[in-house]
């Protein structure tokens, strides 16, 4: 699916716990595969911010954003009628052809999972959506679980890894320590990693991650990578954190 850059109109801005669900008109930008990401213009900033798609309502794209830095705060301040440039879809998403999928999310890492759940449910032809387990830092953050109805939810000090039953095909997104723990517990998991990223399309070399002892560009080889232990692909470490947002 060819990425496309277009200026899209904001059609909605809703709080979801401490996060913001920003909805835009879709224009000619395709929603892509679950786990792929988009570069969103951050008004007044030098670089765009990478975001995975949270939901794809008819004619719209929806992104769940944690306003942690100046760029994400500028994006979250956009109001219906405002416009922003969006480039995507980019990178490699989740493989959905797994027999027993389980969605695992931590914090803002829940972002790509609602769209992923819908895509898996569509494939299951009436047998329902996949099970999901979610972990959050606080009760307020856990309000985002409303985006994934039926998910089992825990709050620190309980970690989401305690909720993962054995024998399922894990598709996970969350902070790096969570992904490391999931990788250790569930070999073969599909993990959506993040890295600071300036361009999203292979130009800046900023999103390098170490894979099998070699630095590779996450925007090209990821952001979804399969943990060692599966038969088809072996990889290690990133939707991505923007250059200004990690702090």
């Amino acid at each position: 699916m060819t990425p496309r850059r277009e200026q899209l109109r904001v059609v909605g801005n809703e709080p979801v716990g401490p996060y913001t669900l920003l909805r835009t008109a879709r224009g000619g930008v395709a929603p892509g595969r679950p786990g792929q990401f988009f570069m969103l213009e951050a008004p007044g900033r030098v670089l765009p911010r990478p975001m995975s798609l949270c939901l794809a309502p008819a004619g719209e794209l929806a992104f769940l954003i944690d306003p942690v830095g100046p760029g994400t705060q500028a994006i979250c301040a956009l109001q219906p009628g405002d416009r922003l440039h969006v480039l995507g879809p980019l990178g490699n998403g989740f493989r959905l052809d797994v027999p027993r999928p389980l969605l695992v999310g931590g914090g803002i890492g829940i972002a790509p999972l609602p769209y992923t759940a819908q895509a898996l449910a569509a494939r299951a032809s009436g047998r329902g959506g996949p099970p999901a387990v979610l972990g959050f830092r606080t009760k307020e953050h856990a309000e985002a679980a409303v985006l994934l109805p039926g998910a089992e939810v825990c709050i620190e000090p309980t970690y989401v890894t305690a909720l993962i039953p054995p024998g399922l095909d894990v598709l996970a997104c969350g902070p790096e320590p969570m992904l490391e723990a999931v990788r250790a517990q569930c070999p073969g998991s599909q993990l959506a990693w993040e890295a600071p990223m300036a361009c999203g399309y292979g130009a800046c070399y900023g999103c390098a991650v170490e894979i099998d002892g070699e630095l590779r560009r996450l925007c090209i080889v990821g952001p979804v990578l399969t943990a060692p232990g599966s038969a088809d692909r072996a990889a290690a470490p990133a939707p991505p954190a923007a250059a200004g947002e990690a702090a």
Binding site: R5, V46, M197, C199, Y201
Partner: protein, 289 residues
């Protein structure tokens, strides 16, 4: 002519972006392969961006065998950026590239802020490369050099055919929570809008002392920025950080530049080159009272 700044575009992963340019400049190629610096490699600042990629590249041998034929197949005008850690290393790479018809010119990266510098001066490196190739040599200079005009004169005397002005300038950003540097290497190269006045000054100063053609670069975000670099004395303009947020920037800025040229009744880029100097020279201070 609009080019990309070396290191800000990979024509093999983004051929559609490279195709909008008049000429593509490769990432810097060094004698040996380099994985580059460990992450974190980039950080945004208020009006710029810091990078510390560390010249990640496949090394000259693999570049010649694998990358160059692929780049050649794209049918682009091609400059290769050459780096090294001694004059001899630069010269060896230039000699290896000398016979490659795909390559139109060589840009000598004499100014990467993220790796150790060669012990020799820029002029000594240019002289060594001049002896190794007949291809046009562009010397890319650092704006950290207070007297960049002196460097320009020196590399011109050593045989450079053009100047590339400027590379990034060293900068530092701290994490607001940990108070530690945000980049793994602590400091990195500052680019983006923050670099534009620095680039303009470098181009302006070098134009005053040298008749060599100049690729002006640093913080070009729109056609007006490109026009100003030309006015300061550049003959060509390169795009860097703007490409990250806007892969359509080359076509957009080329159009905006044409509009800006037309606004001043100028037909082509070369008509704008150096016009800021005419104004400076024609300025008469008011008579002393």
């Amino acid at each position: 002519m609009i080019l990309n700044a070396s290191g800000c575009l990979d024509a093999l992963t983004a051929p559609d972006v490279a195709a909008q340019l008049d000429c593509f400049v490769t990432k810097t190629v060094t004698p040996l392969p380099r994985g580059g610096n460990p992450p974190t490699r980039i950080a945004e600042t208020a009006v710029g961006m810091l990078n510390s990629i560390g010249l990640a590249n496949p090394g000259i041998d693999r570049f010649l065998a694998a990358n160059l034929p692929e780049l050649g197949a794209l049918g682009l005008r091609l400059w290769v950026s050459v780096g090294g850690f001694s004059a001899e290393e630069y010269a060896r790479s230039c000699a290896l590239l000398d016979g490659r018809d795909e390559v139109e010119a060589l840009e000598l990266n004499l100014s990467c802020p993220n790796v150790e510098e060669a012990a020799e001066s820029a002029a000594q490196i240019v002289a060594a490369c001049r002896a190794a190739t007949t291809k046009p040599l562009w010397a890319k200079l650092s704006p950290a050099n207070w007297d960049i005009a002196a460097s320009a004169r020196a590399v011109e005397a050593a045989g450079a055919d053009g100047l590339s002005l400027v590379n990034t300038i060293r900068g530092l950003a701290l994490d607001p929570h940990t108070n530690r540097p945000r980049l793994h290497t602590a400091t990195g190269g500052l680019s983006g809008p923050a670099l534009k006045p620095i680039a303009l000054a470098a181009v302006f100063q070098c134009r005053r002392v040298s008749a060599l053609p100049i690729v002006g670069m640093g913080g070009v975000w729109n056609g007006r920025d490109a026009f100003e670099l030309l006015a300061a004395g550049a003959t060509h303009v390169a795009l860097g950080t703007v490409l990250f947020g806007d892969p359509g920037a080359p076509a957009r800025i080329a159009h905006e530049l044409r509009v800006e040229l037309a606004r001043f009744g100028l037909a082509a880029s070369q008509d704008a080159s150096g016009i800021a100097h005419d104004h400076a020279l024609s300025f008469q201070p008011p008579p002393a009272s």
